[in-house]
């Protein structure tokens, strides 16, 4: 059984690397988008087999391949872990990527370097899958950095655009700050437990908080929690397929995935768990607040992603890694679909991304808008769609756990806001009178558009049911609770929807509203960017120049060292040259003095 699992997973991975390796072997083979899409589709079908094997047998497997013998006593094997997380993640990621690649064939069809684009997406996918299947912090780090770099290259794809370059740089820098935490955890593991294998770092007693803080910092950077979050909305400068793949389904969940993998280290350390909980609650509410007043459809969906990532962090804080993974899986489907629908809308409106200039698209783009509705409903946690199975369980767990009320209230409020801004998207994009330009050549008659979107819609509807039916829960879910608690998620979502409907019906004309504190806070994204981006960097750089460069390097070291010595030498020289008169008399005097002293000594 394990051999089959190993072999099939390896075949999946090798299938994916072929379009990148073959061009190195022969000049004739150049990957084109169609071949890459078919490769991913084949990898998807291949990855279904180990998943079904795993579902049938529940047999986990850790396989070690070649070991990097760099040092005696410290082993760095290339070990892959095939457990429920990686076996479930492979088909989901490949399914979503296949749909996105098919969509990108239409979306990026006018792109001159489309081959490079698809190769980049494939490279990203390979590093992401490597990250997922790694049993070793070393391999995980390779995957981690790989997805970071591909994110940089893909966000800055249209590199002539200054905003895209700034956004790519922002992504890299914020991820780097998170990497500090990851490297610190790796070093702690190496120096305290002498191994980078994840399963060998699980202790029975409480793990010290330091490495866990490092892991949480890494997750904060990669998964855009509050504090290191600005890069995610800025990453919308990249093309829509990039946003759909990286910044909604796969890359941003890497941080949460790291915490899921190392979860047994977190279980006994209540400080780390509470930190995750509060950080996640803050992130989810902050992102949901910012999403309420955004007008760019991609930005709203980006903040929605950020909010859901906060929710995943809350789940980790509740000691429920499997539930977090369930949310990752279901979220991938409907979030990618939301991005693809928005991509279709944007291209059909000739580049218009502002929802204030869209309306009444329900009749003009029926398939896209239907799937947009399905995605939005799934995101809100409508009963029995995909989002319900994960989101409702999370909120039930939240309500029945013994934790601080602040985190609970924040998360519930964020759920309401999610419903509100989602309904706002639906209302402004699909309903009402049309606010688009008069003649827009709009059509979605292309199979390349409708197939991926409908496929992901099927996934959004069925994924939750399928996953929960076939995966055995490792922790007991809460069974009994009062009716109010059980229906809490539904009630607050309904509250959010009614709020949005009321507000929409109150505004007939889209005039600029009067400014008030809350509107300003929300639309300027909490004032975070201007406060931190300039302040910290200018202070650091200014003080660094004043003290380290000017005062110490250029002044004191010079004075203590070369320049100061030179000044002293000069003083001594000047004092001596007074004696160099050039008169024979003086030199004869010095001869006489020396002879006298010698005679006195000889005496």
């Amino acid at each position: 059984m394990e051999t089959m699992l190993n072999t099939l997973t390896l075949i999946t991975l090798i299938t994916l690397t072929i379009p990148l390796l073959l061009p190195l072997l022969s000049k004739k083979f150049k990957p084109n988008p169609l071949t890459i899409m078919y490769t991913t589709k084949m990898a998807f079908t291949t990855s279904l087999l180990p998943m079904m094997l795993f579902m049938y047998s529940n047999a986990e497997c850790i396989t070690s391949y070649w070991e990097w013998k760099i040092m005696t006593n410290f082993k760095i094997p290339l070990s892959l872990k095939m457990d429920q997380y990686s076996m479930m993640f492979f088909p989901i990621a490949l399914f979503v990527t296949w749909s996105i690649l098919q969509f990108a064939m239409w979306y990026m069809s006018s792109e001159p370097y489309i081959d490079k684009f698809f190769s980049y997406l494939l490279m990203f996918l390979i590093t992401m899958l490597l990250l997922t299947i790694a049993n070793n912090m070393f391999l995980l780090f390779i995957g981690w950095e790989g997805v970071g770099i591909m994110s940089f290259l893909l966000i800055g794809w249209w590199q002539g655009r200054a905003e895209a370059n700034t956004a790519a740089l922002q992504a890299v820098l914020y991820n780097r700050i998170g990497d500090i935490g990851l490297i610190m955890s790796m070093m702690w593991m190496a120096s305290n437990t002498n191994t980078w294998e994840i399963h060998q770092n699980f202790h029975q007693e409480c793990t010290p908080t330091l490495p866990l803080l490092g892991l949480i910092l890494a997750a904060t950077g990669k998964s855009a929690q509050f504090g290191l979050h600005p890069w995610l909305p800025a990453a919308m400068e990249g093309p829509t397929p990039v946003s759909a793949l990286l910044h909604s389904s796969t890359m941003v969940v890497a941080g949460i995935f790291l915490l899921i993998r190392t979860h047994p280290m977190l279980t006994n350390n209540q400080t780390a768990l509470t930190l995750c909980l509060c950080l996640g609650a803050l992130s989810t509410l902050f992102a949901a607040t910012c999403a309420l007043t955004q007008n760019d459809i991609k930005k709203i969906i980006a903040f929605s992603t950020s909010s859901q990532l906060g929710l995943m962090m809350v789940t980790i804080g509740l000691n429920q890694p499997q539930l977090a993974f369930l949310h990752i899986s279901t979220h991938a489907f409907f979030k990618a679909m939301l991005f693809l629908c928005s991509g279709s809308i944007i291209h059909n409106l000739n580049g218009e991304q502002d929802i204030r200039k869209m309306g009444s698209l329900q009749k003009l783009l029926p398939v896209t808008t239907t799937c947009l509705t399905i995605g939005n409903l799934a995101l809100m946690g409508t009963p029995f769609l995909a989002g319900f199975y994960s989101k409702d369980l999370i909120i039930e767990n939240l309500n029945t756990s013994h934790l601080n009320t602040w985190a609970l209230l924040l998360t519930l409020l964020a759920t309401t806001f999610t419903a509100t801004y989602t309904t706002r998207i639906t209302l402004m994009v699909q309903t009402g009178h049309t606010r688009t330009a008069v003649i827009t050549p709009m059509n979605e008659n292309n199979q390349t558009i409708t197939d991926p979107i409908t496929r992901l819609a099927m996934g959004s509807i069925l994924a939750g049911l399928l996953i929960t039916s076939y995966i055995i829960p490792t922790k007991t879910p809460p069974m009994t609770m009062p009716t109010t608690t059980k229906t809490a998620a539904l009630i607050i979502t309904a509250l959010g929807i009614t709020l949005a409907l009321e507000l929409a019906s109150m505004t007939q004309t889209l005039t600029q509203p009067k400014q008030n504190t809350y509107l300003n806070f929300s639309s300027s994204l909490g004032y975070y960017n201007p406060l931190t981006h300039r302040l910290t960097t200018t202070k650091l750089l200014n003080n660094g120049q004043k003290i380290a460069t000017n005062l110490i390097d250029l002044s004191w070291y010079k004075k203590m060292g070369p320049e100061g010595l030179a000044t002293m030498q000069l003083m001594m020289t000047k004092a001596h040259t007074k004696a160099h008169t050039g008169l024979i008399k003086a030199y004869l005097e010095s001869f006489a003095l020396s002879v006298l002293i010698i005679l006195l000594y000889l005496d």
Binding site: S191, I547, N550, I552, S555
Partner: protein, 135 residues
């Protein structure tokens, strides 16, 4: 002995705390030595020359494309490329230099020494749990 009469208004008149004296009351300002006055006059002359240069360009009926402020240029040059010649060891610079150049060295010496001593004490007592690592 009984306390004397309260201070008169003249005696109670003292400068406010944290406020610098105005030039008319500050002996360093009005009663300065000839060298200080000479230096002050030189500085004023330099400032006046620079201001004249700038204002000639500013009020020029055919102004040049870019008006350069010589005071700003000199300041920028002094702060970036002419650092050492304009450096003078004052109490402030000596203190800051000692704090940031020698301070960290002393700090880390103390930190490592204390850590080593703590570990040594634990080893002597027999309680030290060696980490399971090669590093």
């Amino acid at each position: 002995m009984a306390p004397g009469p309260p201070p008169t208004a003249a005696e109670a008149y003292r400068p406010n705390a944290y406020v610098s004296l105005p030039a008319e009351l500050n002996p360093e300002a009005f009663d300065a030595s000839p060298e200080k006055r000479r230096a002050e006059a030189e500085r004023l002359a330099i400032r006046a020359r620079l201001k004249l240069q700038y204002q000639l360009q500013l009020n020029n009926p055919n102004p040049p494309a870019v008006i350069e402020d010589p005071a700003l240029l000199r300041w920028a040059y002094a702060r970036t490329q002419n650092v050492y010649p304009t450096f003078r060891p004052t109490p402030k610079t000596s203190f800051l230099g000692a704090l940031y150049a020698i301070g960290p060295i002393l700090f880390w010496i103390a930190a490592f020494k204390l850590d080593r001593d703590r570990k040594e004490k634990l080893i002597q007592k027999g309680e030290y749990k060696r980490p399971f690592s090669v590093f």
